[in-house]
Every structure is written in C-alpha cells, then in structure tokens.
Amino acid sequence: MPTLRVDGVRVTVPAGATVLAAARAAGAEIPTLCHHEGLEPWGGCRLCLVEISKPGWTGEGKIVTSCNYPAEDGLVVRTSGERVVATRRVVVDLLLARCPGTPLVQRLAREHGIEEASYEVNPEPTDCVLCGLCTRACDRMGVSAIASVSRGASRAIAPPFNQPPPDCIGCLACAEVCPTGHIAWSEADGRRTIWGRVFEMQRCEGCGRPHLTAAQAGWARARGAAEQDLRLCDACKREQLARTLRAVSRGETVAAQAAAS
C-alpha cells in the first residue's frame, strides 16, 4: 500500500489507486471532467492536473493528470501550486473558447477566475466538452456504437459515418453520463430516438408501458437476464411480488419461478 504526501498530508491508499483517489482521500479538491469511477481512466480533459515530485528528484516537479497517474510510494503531490493553477486555467480557458454557452463550462471558468475566453471563440459553439464519457460508457456496455471522429477543432463524438449507429441498443447510458446534457434523445408513442436511430420499445406485458428497447432486452438476455424478467416493467414486477407474498401469507404454496412467469 503506497503512502504519499498530498499538500503536506500523508495518505496511504490501496495498491493500484490513482493520484486523484489519493488526493481526494487526503481531502484535496481537484476538478475533473472526464473522470468517472466506473469507466477506464482516460486523462483527456486535463482538468485534474497536479504537480508531482519524488524525494531525490531535482528541479521542478512534473505536471501530470492525476486521474490516470498511479499513486506511487513516496510521491509528493501538490494540487494547487502556482504552476498547477496556471496550467489548469489555460485548460479551462480553451474549454470556454470551445463551449462558450455551456453552463458547466461557464461555472468552471468562473471558479478559475476567467470572465471571457482569451482564445478565439468557437464560431460553432457546442455543448460537447469532448470528455469522452459517452464513448467510454458505450465501450463499457460492450457496444461501442459511437466514437470520437475528426481531429482538432472539428473533433466531435458521432456514430460511424454520421449514420444511425447499427450497434446502438438505445440504453441511453451515453446521454446519462454526459455532463452537459449534449446528447439528445426522445421517447414518444413507444419509440425511442437517439443518435438518429429509432428504436421500437418493448411494452410491459402488465401495464403496456414501453419500458425498454428490444435491443436492450437482447443485450440483457445475452448477459444472463431471464426472458420472463424482461417482459414486465419494474412496477408490475413489484405488484407480482406483492401477490406472491400475499399468497404465501394465506398459506398457499407458490413456486417463485412459476409466480414470476
């Protein structure tokens, strides 16, 4: 278990932890944008920059992204030194130039003392901060329907060839993890639309409410979910459980599986 010093505080973390986790455990506040505990660390937004050094290092410390830097024994971490703050400020400044109208970015800018972007403002403002949370969530699903396309200023997240993504299952995880609400989707008349693709929803066999896409049901089945458990929505499954419990309390013998189908 490595022991580090973060802003003067000694902290011991489990092996394999990141500098970000160690710093947070030590009570430091580090802004992050692309970090998510359930996803692979990426180090893309560069907001989580810290300065590290080790005993024996000479000269200046190294500026690294804390979210994907391993917490090594003996590391000395500074989370708010002058260099860190200045570098982080540039990152936020650039982000504000890209997304001038995005509330989350505006808030970050304010927190970093930036009123206006010092760089040329994006002529086509977007709410996408390119944090890659959506693509990594999709990868985590094992679906990988969307990806980062192009480079430089025109970089964006999109399905292949900007066409409705054939692999998408319509689970909405991408839209849910997006920190700015940039990923639009809609649901009406038993259809769900996202990334330009229209999904026919599966209706609950109890109440008729459209509750998941057929592709989602297929995904869940492939991962061991039982067909019968996907036929009803959660509310109707609870009703079914209540009926089973009442039958049991009346002394009836109920096979749980039989009751569930």
């Binding site: 998941l212 989602q216 869940a220």
Partner: protein, 143 residues
C-alpha cells in the same frame, strides 16, 4: 452475520411509515428520496397492504448484468449495494431484477435499491405492527 429483514405480510396495516422512513433516511439534503420499499395492494389508505422490497438475492440478477461493477455485496450486512459513482445509468439492473426491486429515480437520474440502511433498516424500526422485522443474528423469531 448478515442482516435478515423479514416481512410478515398479514401484519401490515398499510400506514406507510416504512416508505416514509426510507425516503427520509436516503434523502439528499432536504428532499426526501424515492423510497426503496413500497406498500402495495392498499385498496384504501390506510388499509392492509403488502410491503415489497429487495430480497438481497443469493444470486442477484442485477449484479450479474451490471457492466460497471457498480453493484456489490456488502460483506457485513449482506445487502447488494449500489456505488453511484461507478454506475453508468444503463438501467440493465432495473430490467433484470425479477422482482422489480431495483428502480430508476427519474428526478435524480439514479438507480435506487434497498441497502438495508447499512445494517439498521429504518423501515423495520418505524413499522408499528411488526410487519417488518430486522435481525442482526440471522435468527428471527416472530414476536
């Protein structure tokens, strides 16, 4: 030893104290949470009801399908616990639970499920009729 939470359906008078206790104990700030326990089958309120809540299955379907290891067994209480920070909100767990006891809170955009209150289920504590009984020993006699 895991916590055992027993439901004695015929004792429920439908008062809804359990839902209330749950909503308050899981509240974020001042807003009560979506309760993890629900009293169903109340035709009149109050009136006899059936409390339903997570059964903390031995082989949990929710945990099986979760792609993100956001659900895990709490070794001390035996509860299947959700780590919100790991959850990617795919709601596969909601779809997979055979009993409907993993739900989606559309207001807070989080999955909600019973966590046995970390070992002291407040629903049982506030149940006036003994329809909900919790035990630390795993041995539960009906008082």
């Amino acid at each position: 030893m895991a916590i055992v939470l027993r439901v004695v359906t015929e004792r429920c008078n439908g008062c809804g104290n359990c839902e209330m206790a749950c909503a308050f104990v899981h509240a974020q700030g001042t807003r009560p949470a979506q309760p993890r326990i629900q009293v169903l089958g109340r035709h009149a309120s109050p009136g006899p009801g059936t409390p339903v809540l997570c059964l903390q299955c031995d082989e949990p379907a929710c945990l099986e399908v979760c792609p993100s290891q956001a659900l895990s067994r709490d070794e001390t209480t035996g509860a299947i616990r959700l780590n919100e920070a790991r959850c990617i909100r795919c709601r596969s767990c909601v779809a997979a639970c055979p009993f409907g006891n993993v739900a989606w809170d559309a207001a807070r955009h989080v999955v909600v499920k019973c966590d046995l209150c970390g070992g002291d289920p407040q629903c049982a504590r506030f149940c006036p009729t003994g329809a909900l009984l919790s035990s630390r020993t795993g041995i539960l006699t009906c008082p």
